[in-house]
Protein backbone atom coordinates (compact mmCIF):
# COMPACT_ATOMS: atom_id res chain seq x y z
CA UNK A 1 0.00 0.00 0.00
CA UNK A 2 2.89 2.23 0.68
CA UNK A 3 4.17 1.94 -2.83
CA UNK A 4 0.72 2.61 -4.15
CA UNK A 5 0.64 5.87 -2.20
CA UNK A 6 4.11 6.69 -3.41
CA UNK A 7 3.01 6.18 -7.00
CA UNK A 8 0.13 8.50 -6.59
CA UNK A 9 2.45 11.05 -5.07
CA UNK A 10 4.87 10.72 -7.91
CA UNK A 11 2.14 11.08 -10.46
CA UNK A 12 0.73 14.11 -8.76
CA UNK A 13 4.21 15.59 -8.69
CA UNK A 14 4.79 14.89 -12.34
CA UNK A 15 1.42 16.29 -13.33
CA UNK A 16 2.14 19.39 -11.31
CA UNK A 17 -0.92 18.81 -9.16
CA UNK A 18 0.99 19.12 -5.86
CA UNK A 19 0.41 22.11 -3.68
CA UNK A 20 3.53 24.29 -3.38
CA UNK A 21 4.44 23.21 0.16
CA UNK A 22 4.18 19.51 -0.48
CA UNK A 23 6.07 19.99 -3.73
CA UNK A 24 8.94 21.71 -1.99
CA UNK A 25 9.05 18.92 0.58
CA UNK A 26 8.95 16.27 -2.13
CA UNK A 27 11.72 17.92 -4.11
CA UNK A 28 13.86 18.13 -1.00
CA UNK A 29 13.20 14.44 -0.45
CA UNK A 30 14.24 13.73 -4.04
CA UNK A 31 17.60 15.34 -3.41
CA UNK A 32 18.30 13.10 -0.47
CA UNK A 33 16.57 9.90 -1.49
CA UNK A 34 18.36 8.60 -4.57
CA UNK A 35 16.07 5.60 -4.81
CA UNK A 36 12.99 7.76 -4.91
CA UNK A 37 14.62 10.05 -7.49
CA UNK A 38 15.39 7.03 -9.65
CA UNK A 39 11.82 5.84 -9.30
CA UNK A 40 10.49 9.23 -10.29
CA UNK A 41 12.77 9.33 -13.31
CA UNK A 42 11.69 5.88 -14.41
CA UNK A 43 8.07 6.64 -13.84
CA UNK A 44 8.38 9.80 -15.85
CA UNK A 45 10.05 8.02 -18.67
CA UNK A 46 7.49 5.26 -18.68
CA UNK A 47 4.56 7.62 -18.75
CA UNK A 48 6.19 9.73 -21.43
CA UNK A 49 6.91 6.72 -23.52
CA UNK A 50 3.37 5.53 -23.12
CA UNK A 51 1.86 8.87 -23.99
CA UNK A 52 4.12 9.43 -26.96
CA UNK A 53 3.37 5.92 -28.07
CA UNK A 54 -0.29 6.71 -27.91
CA UNK A 55 0.20 9.89 -29.88
CA UNK A 56 2.26 8.13 -32.44
CA UNK A 57 -0.36 5.45 -32.83
CA UNK A 58 -3.04 8.01 -33.45
CA UNK A 59 -0.80 9.91 -35.86
CA UNK A 60 -0.14 6.73 -37.77
CA UNK A 61 -3.80 6.02 -37.88
CA UNK A 62 -4.37 9.48 -39.28
CA UNK A 63 -1.73 8.98 -41.92
CA UNK A 64 -3.22 5.64 -42.84
CA UNK A 65 -6.57 7.28 -43.24
CA UNK A 66 -5.02 9.94 -45.45
CA UNK A 67 -3.27 7.27 -47.44
CA UNK A 68 -6.44 5.28 -47.92
CA UNK A 69 -8.19 8.48 -48.88
CA UNK A 70 -5.47 9.27 -51.40
CA UNK A 71 -5.62 5.80 -52.91
CA UNK A 72 -9.36 6.07 -53.20
CA UNK A 73 -8.89 9.33 -55.08
CA UNK A 74 -6.49 7.77 -57.49
CA UNK A 75 -8.98 5.17 -58.65
CA UNK A 76 -7.35 4.21 -61.93
CA UNK A 77 -4.71 2.20 -60.18
CA UNK A 78 -3.88 0.17 -63.25
CA UNK A 79 -1.91 2.91 -65.01
CA UNK A 80 0.15 3.28 -61.87
CA UNK A 81 0.58 -0.48 -61.84
CA UNK A 82 1.71 -0.38 -65.42
CA UNK A 83 4.05 2.43 -64.62
CA UNK A 84 5.57 0.46 -61.76
CA UNK A 85 5.83 -2.58 -63.96
CA UNK A 86 7.44 -0.52 -66.68
CA UNK A 87 9.88 1.14 -64.30
CA UNK A 88 10.91 -2.18 -62.93
CA UNK A 89 11.17 -4.04 -66.21
CA UNK A 90 12.04 -1.33 -68.70
CA UNK A 91 15.55 -2.67 -69.18
CA UNK A 92 14.46 -6.26 -69.60
CA UNK A 93 11.76 -5.24 -72.02
CA UNK A 94 14.23 -3.15 -73.98
CA UNK A 95 16.66 -6.04 -74.26
CA UNK A 96 13.89 -8.44 -75.25
CA UNK A 97 12.62 -6.01 -77.84
CA UNK A 98 16.03 -5.50 -79.38
CA UNK A 99 16.70 -9.23 -79.45
CA UNK A 100 13.41 -9.90 -81.19
CA UNK A 101 13.98 -7.06 -83.63
CA UNK A 102 17.44 -8.37 -84.37
CA UNK A 103 16.21 -11.88 -84.95
CA UNK A 104 13.34 -10.71 -87.16
CA UNK A 105 15.56 -8.57 -89.33
CA UNK A 106 18.35 -11.11 -89.22
CA UNK A 107 15.97 -13.79 -90.48
CA UNK A 108 14.62 -11.49 -93.14
CA UNK A 109 18.12 -10.63 -94.23
CA UNK A 110 19.34 -14.24 -94.37
CA UNK A 111 16.23 -15.33 -96.24
CA UNK A 112 16.94 -12.52 -98.68
CA UNK A 113 20.50 -13.79 -99.02
CA UNK A 114 19.26 -17.29 -99.73
CA UNK A 115 16.81 -15.98 -102.26
CA UNK A 116 19.39 -13.78 -103.96
CA UNK A 117 20.67 -16.38 -106.48
CA UNK A 118 17.09 -17.24 -107.38
CA UNK A 119 16.47 -13.60 -107.97
CA UNK A 120 19.47 -13.47 -110.22
CA UNK A 121 18.08 -16.38 -112.10
CA UNK A 122 15.01 -14.39 -112.94
CA UNK A 123 17.09 -11.31 -113.49
CA UNK A 124 16.97 -8.71 -116.13
CA UNK A 125 17.66 -9.15 -119.73
CA UNK A 126 20.48 -6.90 -120.76
CA UNK A 127 20.60 -5.51 -124.21
CA UNK A 128 24.11 -5.36 -125.42
CA UNK A 129 24.27 -1.97 -126.95
CA UNK A 130 27.35 -0.12 -125.91
CA UNK A 131 27.37 3.30 -124.36
CA UNK A 132 30.51 4.90 -125.61
CA UNK A 133 32.76 6.55 -123.11
CA UNK A 134 32.18 10.15 -123.87
CA UNK A 135 35.08 11.63 -122.02
CA UNK A 136 37.77 9.57 -123.66
CA UNK A 137 36.38 10.21 -127.08
CA UNK A 138 36.13 13.92 -126.48
CA UNK A 139 39.73 13.97 -125.44
CA UNK A 140 40.93 12.22 -128.57
CA UNK A 141 38.74 14.53 -130.55
CA UNK A 142 40.47 17.51 -129.03
CA UNK A 143 43.88 16.10 -129.78
CA UNK A 144 42.78 15.42 -133.32
CA UNK A 145 41.54 18.99 -133.46
CA UNK A 146 44.95 20.34 -132.52
CA UNK A 147 46.68 18.26 -135.13
CA UNK A 148 44.25 19.19 -137.79
CA UNK A 149 42.73 22.49 -136.91
CA UNK A 150 40.93 22.94 -140.20
CA UNK A 151 38.56 20.02 -139.70
CA UNK A 152 35.86 20.24 -137.08
CA UNK A 153 36.26 17.61 -134.43
CA UNK A 154 33.96 14.65 -135.09
CA UNK A 155 31.20 14.23 -132.60
CA UNK A 156 31.51 11.00 -130.68
CA UNK A 157 28.82 8.38 -131.06
CA UNK A 158 26.50 7.95 -128.14
CA UNK A 159 25.95 4.24 -128.63
CA UNK A 160 27.40 1.52 -130.69
CA UNK A 161 26.46 -1.99 -131.71
CA UNK A 162 27.23 -4.49 -134.43
CA UNK A 163 25.57 -5.07 -137.75
CA UNK A 164 26.16 -7.27 -140.81
CA UNK A 165 25.32 -7.25 -144.47
CA UNK A 166 22.42 -9.37 -145.74
CA UNK A 167 22.57 -8.50 -149.40
CA UNK A 168 25.20 -7.22 -151.77
CA UNK A 169 23.20 -4.10 -152.63
CA UNK A 170 23.69 -2.49 -149.27
CA UNK A 171 21.16 -3.90 -146.82
CA UNK A 172 22.25 -4.70 -143.32
CA UNK A 173 20.70 -6.10 -140.18
CA UNK A 174 21.20 -5.06 -136.59
CA UNK A 175 19.24 -5.12 -133.35
CA UNK A 176 16.42 -2.64 -133.07
CA UNK A 177 17.55 -1.46 -129.66
CA UNK A 178 20.91 -0.43 -131.08
CA UNK A 179 19.46 2.12 -133.44
CA UNK A 180 16.64 3.16 -131.15
CA UNK A 181 16.16 6.92 -131.01
CA UNK A 182 18.93 7.54 -133.48
CA UNK A 183 19.39 10.83 -135.33
CA UNK A 184 21.94 9.43 -137.67
CA UNK A 185 23.65 6.09 -137.99
CA UNK A 186 27.10 5.35 -139.39
CA UNK A 187 28.66 2.00 -140.04
CA UNK A 188 32.31 1.18 -140.30
CA UNK A 189 34.09 -2.12 -140.95
CA UNK A 190 37.50 -3.46 -140.15
CA UNK A 191 38.82 -2.29 -143.48
CA UNK A 192 37.90 1.27 -142.52
CA UNK A 193 35.04 1.66 -144.95
CA UNK A 194 32.54 4.16 -143.56
CA UNK A 195 28.99 4.56 -144.76
CA UNK A 196 26.03 6.54 -143.68
CA UNK A 197 22.98 4.32 -143.27
CA UNK A 198 19.29 4.73 -142.60
CA UNK A 199 16.89 2.42 -140.83
CA UNK A 200 14.37 1.26 -143.40
CA UNK A 201 12.46 -1.42 -141.54
CA UNK A 202 11.94 -2.46 -137.98
CA UNK A 203 10.50 -5.59 -136.37
CA UNK A 204 9.96 -4.49 -132.83
CA UNK A 205 8.74 -7.90 -131.67
CA UNK A 206 11.93 -9.71 -132.63
CA UNK A 207 14.16 -6.75 -131.93
CA UNK A 208 15.51 -6.60 -135.50
CA UNK A 209 16.08 -3.68 -137.86
CA UNK A 210 17.04 -3.46 -141.52
CA UNK A 211 19.47 -0.70 -142.43
CA UNK A 212 20.19 0.52 -145.93
CA UNK A 213 23.41 2.19 -146.94
CA UNK A 214 22.52 5.67 -148.01
CA UNK A 215 25.83 6.94 -149.25
CA UNK A 216 26.94 8.05 -152.74
CA UNK A 217 30.37 6.55 -152.11
CA UNK A 218 28.86 3.05 -151.83
CA UNK A 219 29.12 0.89 -154.88
CA UNK A 220 27.95 -2.43 -153.55
CA UNK A 221 29.44 -5.32 -151.63
CA UNK A 222 31.15 -8.23 -153.14
CA UNK A 223 29.43 -11.58 -152.95
CA UNK A 224 28.48 -12.37 -149.37
CA UNK A 225 30.35 -15.43 -148.06
CA UNK A 226 27.56 -16.81 -145.81
CA UNK A 227 24.03 -18.09 -146.26
CA UNK A 228 21.03 -18.03 -143.96
CA UNK A 229 19.93 -21.19 -142.31
CA UNK A 230 16.18 -21.73 -142.38
CA UNK A 231 16.00 -24.81 -140.18
CA UNK A 232 16.61 -24.72 -136.47
CA UNK A 233 20.12 -25.55 -135.33
CA UNK A 234 20.82 -28.39 -132.96
CA UNK A 235 21.75 -28.29 -129.34
CA UNK A 236 25.49 -28.36 -128.74
CA UNK A 237 26.51 -27.03 -132.13
CA UNK A 238 29.69 -24.98 -132.22
CA UNK A 239 28.81 -21.37 -132.91
CA UNK A 240 30.74 -18.13 -133.13
CA UNK A 241 30.20 -14.46 -133.63
CA UNK A 242 32.07 -11.34 -134.62
CA UNK A 243 31.27 -8.04 -133.00
CA UNK A 244 32.43 -4.66 -131.82
CA UNK A 245 32.26 -4.63 -128.02
CA UNK A 246 35.19 -2.18 -128.32
CA UNK A 247 36.78 -0.20 -131.11
CA UNK A 248 38.22 -3.32 -132.71
CA UNK A 249 36.45 -6.38 -133.99
CA UNK A 250 36.26 -9.24 -131.49
CA UNK A 251 35.72 -12.93 -132.14
CA UNK A 252 33.72 -15.00 -129.68
CA UNK A 253 33.08 -18.72 -129.76
CA UNK A 254 30.91 -21.13 -127.84
CA UNK A 255 28.12 -23.57 -128.32
CA UNK A 256 24.41 -23.51 -128.68
CA UNK A 257 23.35 -24.27 -125.15
CA UNK A 258 19.59 -24.07 -125.49
CA UNK A 259 17.05 -23.81 -128.26
CA UNK A 260 14.99 -21.36 -126.25
CA UNK A 261 15.94 -17.94 -125.02
CA UNK A 262 15.28 -15.68 -122.08
CA UNK A 263 12.42 -17.05 -119.98
CA UNK A 264 11.58 -19.74 -122.49
CA UNK A 265 11.43 -17.44 -125.50
CA UNK A 266 11.27 -19.83 -128.48
CA UNK A 267 12.26 -17.16 -130.99
CA UNK A 268 15.81 -17.13 -129.62
CA UNK A 269 18.73 -19.44 -128.86
CA UNK A 270 20.76 -19.45 -125.73
CA UNK A 271 24.45 -19.50 -126.53
CA UNK A 272 27.50 -19.82 -124.35
CA UNK A 273 29.58 -17.07 -125.82
CA UNK A 274 30.96 -14.41 -123.52
CA UNK A 275 29.38 -11.22 -124.79
CA UNK A 276 29.65 -7.59 -123.88
CA UNK A 277 27.79 -4.38 -124.62
CA UNK A 278 28.43 -3.63 -128.28
CA UNK A 279 27.90 -7.20 -129.42
CA UNK A 280 24.23 -6.59 -130.09
CA UNK A 281 23.24 -7.08 -133.70
CA UNK A 282 26.22 -9.28 -134.46
CA UNK A 283 25.87 -12.35 -136.69
CA UNK A 284 25.77 -15.79 -135.12
CA UNK A 285 27.27 -18.46 -137.36
CA UNK A 286 27.76 -22.16 -137.11
CA UNK A 287 30.81 -24.21 -138.07
CA UNK A 288 29.85 -24.41 -141.70
CA UNK A 289 29.39 -20.69 -142.01
CA UNK A 290 25.62 -20.65 -141.96
CA UNK A 291 24.10 -17.62 -140.33
CA UNK A 292 21.83 -19.02 -137.65
CA UNK A 293 20.97 -15.96 -135.56
CA UNK A 294 21.43 -12.36 -134.53
CA UNK A 295 22.96 -11.57 -131.14
CA UNK A 296 20.48 -9.65 -129.02
CA UNK A 297 21.32 -9.68 -125.33
CA UNK A 298 22.27 -11.60 -122.24
CA UNK A 299 21.07 -12.26 -118.77
CA UNK A 300 22.38 -9.95 -116.11
CA UNK A 301 24.61 -11.57 -113.53
CA UNK A 302 24.71 -14.90 -115.35
CA UNK A 303 27.87 -15.91 -117.10
CA UNK A 304 27.59 -17.65 -120.44
CA UNK A 305 23.89 -17.04 -120.87
CA UNK A 306 23.59 -14.92 -124.01
CA UNK A 307 20.77 -14.88 -126.48
CA UNK A 308 20.42 -14.66 -130.22
CA UNK A 309 17.30 -14.27 -132.37
CA UNK A 310 16.88 -17.28 -134.60
CA UNK A 311 17.60 -16.76 -138.32
CA UNK A 312 14.13 -18.01 -139.23
CA UNK A 313 12.66 -14.83 -137.82
CA UNK A 314 15.27 -12.76 -139.62
CA UNK A 315 14.27 -14.37 -142.89
CA UNK A 316 10.62 -13.81 -142.06
CA UNK A 317 11.32 -10.13 -141.63
CA UNK A 318 13.36 -9.94 -144.82
CA UNK A 319 10.40 -11.41 -146.63
CA UNK A 320 7.94 -8.99 -145.07
CA UNK A 321 10.08 -5.96 -145.73
CA UNK A 322 9.61 -5.56 -149.53
CA UNK A 323 5.85 -5.90 -149.18
CA UNK A 324 5.45 -3.07 -146.72
CA UNK A 325 8.20 -0.86 -148.13
CA UNK A 326 7.27 -1.64 -151.78
CA UNK A 327 10.78 -2.32 -152.94
CA UNK A 328 12.14 -5.23 -154.91
CA UNK A 329 12.73 -8.41 -152.94
CA UNK A 330 16.22 -8.59 -151.53
CA UNK A 331 18.64 -10.90 -153.26
CA UNK A 332 19.99 -13.04 -150.51
CA UNK A 333 23.33 -14.82 -150.89
CA UNK A 334 23.00 -18.34 -152.25
CA UNK A 335 26.52 -19.69 -152.02
CA UNK A 336 28.33 -20.38 -148.88
CA UNK A 337 32.05 -19.92 -149.40
CA UNK A 338 32.91 -20.40 -145.78
CA UNK A 339 32.06 -24.06 -145.42
CA UNK A 340 35.06 -26.33 -145.07
CA UNK A 341 37.48 -23.51 -144.33
CA UNK A 342 39.35 -23.37 -141.07
CA UNK A 343 38.06 -20.74 -138.67
CA UNK A 344 40.73 -18.03 -139.33
CA UNK A 345 40.03 -18.24 -143.04
CA UNK A 346 36.34 -17.95 -142.42
CA UNK A 347 36.88 -14.90 -140.28
CA UNK A 348 39.08 -13.24 -142.87
CA UNK A 349 36.30 -13.51 -145.39
CA UNK A 350 33.66 -12.58 -142.93
CA UNK A 351 35.08 -9.54 -141.25
CA UNK A 352 34.52 -7.14 -144.12
CA UNK A 353 30.77 -7.72 -143.83
CA UNK A 354 30.54 -7.12 -140.12
CA UNK A 355 30.25 -3.47 -139.19
CA UNK A 356 30.30 -1.37 -136.09
CA UNK A 357 27.06 0.56 -136.00
CA UNK A 358 27.56 4.02 -134.52
CA UNK A 359 24.50 5.80 -133.32
CA UNK A 360 24.33 9.56 -132.91
CA UNK A 361 21.58 11.36 -131.17
Amino acid sequence: MLEYRAYEQIERYLNGQMPAEERAGFEALLHTDARLAEQVREHKQLLQAMQQYGQRQSLKQKLNLIHADMEAEAIPATPAGWKVFWNRHAQTVAVAASVSLLSVFGTLWSVQQLKAPVQQQTARYVELRREVERLKKTQTAIINGINDAAKPAPRPAAFSGTGFAISADGYLVTSSHVVEGADSVLIENKAGQKFKVAEVYRDQVHDLSILKIDDPAFTGFEKLPYTFKTAESDLGERVYTLGYPREDIVFGEGSLSSTSGFEGDTTAYQISIPLNPGNSGGPLLDDKGNLIGVISGKQAGQEGAAFAIKSAYLLQMIEEFPKTASVLPLTLPRHNTLAGNPRPQQLKKLKDYVFVVKVYN
Binding site: Y4, L46, M50, Q51, Q52, Y53, R56
Partner: protein, 190 residues
Protein backbone atom coordinates in the same frame (compact mmCIF):
# COMPACT_ATOMS: atom_id res chain seq x y z
CA UNK B 1 -9.63 20.41 -49.75
CA UNK B 2 -8.63 23.88 -50.73
CA UNK B 3 -5.26 23.65 -52.29
CA UNK B 4 -4.68 27.35 -52.43
CA UNK B 5 -4.69 27.41 -48.65
CA UNK B 6 -1.47 25.40 -48.46
CA UNK B 7 0.31 26.55 -51.51
CA UNK B 8 3.56 27.39 -49.77
CA UNK B 9 5.74 25.35 -47.43
CA UNK B 10 5.26 27.98 -44.74
CA UNK B 11 1.49 27.64 -44.94
CA UNK B 12 1.75 23.89 -44.52
CA UNK B 13 4.09 24.16 -41.53
CA UNK B 14 1.79 26.75 -40.00
CA UNK B 15 -1.21 24.54 -40.62
CA UNK B 16 0.40 21.54 -38.93
CA UNK B 17 1.38 23.69 -36.01
CA UNK B 18 -2.27 24.65 -35.62
CA UNK B 19 -3.17 20.94 -35.64
CA UNK B 20 -4.97 21.38 -38.92
CA UNK B 21 -5.45 17.92 -40.30
CA UNK B 22 -6.10 19.22 -43.77
CA UNK B 23 -2.58 20.65 -43.82
CA UNK B 24 -1.16 17.26 -42.93
CA UNK B 25 -3.33 15.53 -45.49
CA UNK B 26 -2.31 18.01 -48.14
CA UNK B 27 1.35 17.60 -47.34
CA UNK B 28 0.99 13.84 -47.33
CA UNK B 29 -0.69 13.67 -50.70
CA UNK B 30 1.59 16.26 -52.24
CA UNK B 31 4.84 14.39 -51.79
CA UNK B 32 3.86 10.76 -51.72
CA UNK B 33 4.35 10.19 -55.48
CA UNK B 34 7.94 11.38 -55.32
CA UNK B 35 8.89 9.04 -52.45
CA UNK B 36 6.86 6.22 -53.93
CA UNK B 37 8.74 6.56 -57.17
CA UNK B 38 12.05 6.69 -55.35
CA UNK B 39 11.36 3.54 -53.31
CA UNK B 40 9.89 1.64 -56.21
CA UNK B 41 12.81 2.43 -58.47
CA UNK B 42 15.17 1.23 -55.75
CA UNK B 43 13.85 -2.29 -55.35
CA UNK B 44 11.08 -1.49 -52.91
CA UNK B 45 7.42 -2.43 -52.89
CA UNK B 46 4.27 -0.34 -52.57
CA UNK B 47 3.90 -1.24 -48.92
CA UNK B 48 7.47 -0.34 -48.16
CA UNK B 49 7.01 2.96 -49.92
CA UNK B 50 3.98 3.72 -47.77
CA UNK B 51 5.85 2.68 -44.65
CA UNK B 52 8.95 4.71 -45.31
CA UNK B 53 6.98 7.71 -46.42
CA UNK B 54 4.84 7.67 -43.29
CA UNK B 55 7.93 7.50 -41.14
CA UNK B 56 9.37 10.43 -43.04
CA UNK B 57 6.20 12.44 -42.54
CA UNK B 58 6.21 11.55 -38.86
CA UNK B 59 9.78 12.79 -38.47
CA UNK B 60 8.80 16.01 -40.14
CA UNK B 61 5.59 16.29 -38.11
CA UNK B 62 7.35 15.72 -34.81
CA UNK B 63 9.95 18.30 -35.68
CA UNK B 64 7.26 20.86 -36.23
CA UNK B 65 5.55 19.91 -32.99
CA UNK B 66 8.89 20.20 -31.15
CA UNK B 67 9.41 23.60 -32.70
CA UNK B 68 12.85 22.34 -33.56
CA UNK B 69 12.32 22.66 -37.27
CA UNK B 70 14.83 24.82 -39.03
CA UNK B 71 14.10 24.26 -42.64
CA UNK B 72 17.03 25.27 -44.75
CA UNK B 73 15.46 23.72 -47.81
CA UNK B 74 12.10 22.83 -49.27
CA UNK B 75 9.84 20.40 -47.43
CA UNK B 76 10.10 18.21 -50.49
CA UNK B 77 13.88 18.02 -50.21
CA UNK B 78 13.70 17.42 -46.47
CA UNK B 79 11.20 14.60 -46.83
CA UNK B 80 13.23 13.09 -49.64
CA UNK B 81 16.39 13.21 -47.56
CA UNK B 82 14.74 11.60 -44.54
CA UNK B 83 13.10 8.87 -46.58
CA UNK B 84 16.30 8.26 -48.50
CA UNK B 85 18.19 7.84 -45.27
CA UNK B 86 15.55 5.55 -43.80
CA UNK B 87 15.41 3.48 -46.95
CA UNK B 88 19.18 3.09 -47.02
CA UNK B 89 19.03 1.79 -43.48
CA UNK B 90 16.20 -0.55 -44.37
CA UNK B 91 18.09 -1.89 -47.35
CA UNK B 92 21.18 -2.44 -45.23
CA UNK B 93 19.06 -4.37 -42.73
CA UNK B 94 17.68 -6.47 -45.53
CA UNK B 95 21.24 -7.44 -46.31
CA UNK B 96 21.63 -5.53 -49.50
CA UNK B 97 24.99 -3.99 -49.04
CA UNK B 98 26.79 -2.04 -51.68
CA UNK B 99 23.54 -0.38 -52.52
CA UNK B 100 23.69 2.01 -55.34
CA UNK B 101 20.72 4.28 -55.20
CA UNK B 102 18.98 5.50 -58.25
CA UNK B 103 18.97 9.15 -57.23
CA UNK B 104 16.73 11.65 -58.82
CA UNK B 105 16.82 14.51 -56.32
CA UNK B 106 19.28 16.33 -54.17
CA UNK B 107 19.24 15.75 -50.46
CA UNK B 108 20.35 17.36 -47.22
CA UNK B 109 22.01 15.71 -44.24
CA UNK B 110 19.33 14.50 -41.79
CA UNK B 111 21.25 11.87 -39.82
CA UNK B 112 20.42 13.48 -36.48
CA UNK B 113 16.71 13.56 -37.12
CA UNK B 114 16.53 10.02 -38.38
CA UNK B 115 18.68 8.74 -35.52
CA UNK B 116 16.33 10.34 -33.02
CA UNK B 117 13.40 8.93 -34.88
CA UNK B 118 14.87 5.46 -34.85
CA UNK B 119 15.52 5.65 -31.13
CA UNK B 120 11.91 6.62 -30.63
CA UNK B 121 10.71 3.86 -32.88
CA UNK B 122 12.72 1.40 -30.86
CA UNK B 123 11.21 2.70 -27.67
CA UNK B 124 7.72 2.48 -29.13
CA UNK B 125 8.39 -1.00 -30.34
CA UNK B 126 9.33 -2.06 -26.82
CA UNK B 127 6.29 -0.23 -25.47
CA UNK B 128 3.98 -1.98 -27.90
CA UNK B 129 5.50 -5.35 -27.04
CA UNK B 130 5.24 -4.65 -23.32
CA UNK B 131 1.61 -3.62 -23.58
CA UNK B 132 0.95 -6.72 -25.61
CA UNK B 133 2.59 -8.87 -22.97
CA UNK B 134 0.66 -7.11 -20.24
CA UNK B 135 -2.61 -8.45 -21.56
CA UNK B 136 -6.16 -7.40 -20.85
CA UNK B 137 -7.68 -5.73 -18.96
CA UNK B 138 -4.45 -4.05 -17.77
CA UNK B 139 -3.61 -2.83 -21.18
CA UNK B 140 -6.93 -1.15 -21.85
CA UNK B 141 -6.96 0.26 -18.38
CA UNK B 142 -3.59 1.93 -18.76
CA UNK B 143 -4.34 3.09 -22.27
CA UNK B 144 -7.59 4.60 -21.24
CA UNK B 145 -6.08 6.38 -18.31
CA UNK B 146 -2.70 7.49 -19.57
CA UNK B 147 -3.19 7.78 -23.30
CA UNK B 148 -6.82 8.62 -23.75
CA UNK B 149 -6.67 10.58 -20.51
CA UNK B 150 -10.04 9.31 -19.38
CA UNK B 151 -11.52 10.13 -16.02
CA UNK B 152 -11.02 7.57 -13.23
CA UNK B 153 -14.78 7.44 -12.72
CA UNK B 154 -15.41 6.57 -16.36
CA UNK B 155 -12.83 3.84 -16.18
CA UNK B 156 -14.33 2.47 -13.01
CA UNK B 157 -17.69 2.22 -14.68
CA UNK B 158 -16.30 0.79 -17.88
CA UNK B 159 -14.36 -2.00 -16.23
CA UNK B 160 -17.02 -2.64 -13.62
CA UNK B 161 -14.96 -1.90 -10.47
CA UNK B 162 -16.87 -1.30 -7.27
CA UNK B 163 -15.26 2.09 -6.69
CA UNK B 164 -12.48 4.33 -7.95
CA UNK B 165 -10.13 3.10 -5.26
CA UNK B 166 -10.31 -0.44 -6.55
CA UNK B 167 -9.72 0.92 -10.02
CA UNK B 168 -6.76 2.96 -8.83
CA UNK B 169 -5.34 -0.03 -7.06
CA UNK B 170 -5.76 -2.12 -10.17
CA UNK B 171 -4.17 0.59 -12.25
CA UNK B 172 -1.25 0.74 -9.85
CA UNK B 173 -0.68 -3.00 -10.13
CA UNK B 174 -0.86 -2.88 -13.86
CA UNK B 175 1.55 0.01 -14.09
CA UNK B 176 3.93 -1.78 -11.79
CA UNK B 177 3.95 -4.79 -14.08
CA UNK B 178 4.30 -2.71 -17.18
CA UNK B 179 7.24 -0.93 -15.68
CA UNK B 180 8.96 -4.21 -14.99
CA UNK B 181 8.38 -5.56 -18.44
CA UNK B 182 9.29 -2.33 -20.16
CA UNK B 183 12.57 -1.68 -18.40
CA UNK B 184 13.55 -5.31 -18.66
CA UNK B 185 13.95 -4.91 -22.41
CA UNK B 186 14.38 -1.20 -22.95
CA UNK B 187 17.75 0.32 -22.19
CA UNK B 188 17.73 3.92 -23.20
CA UNK B 189 20.80 4.95 -25.11
CA UNK B 190 21.53 8.28 -23.54
Amino acid sequence: MKKSLYETDEAIVEGIRRDDERALAHLYKLHFPMISHFILSNSGTDDEAKDIYQEGVIVFYEKIKDNSLELSCQIKTYLYSVCRRLWLKRLAEKGRYAVKLDESDSFVPVEEDTARHEEQEKQFGVMAASLEQLGEPCRSLLEDYYIKMQNMQVITDKFGYTNTDTAKNQKYKCLQRLKKIFFATYKPEV
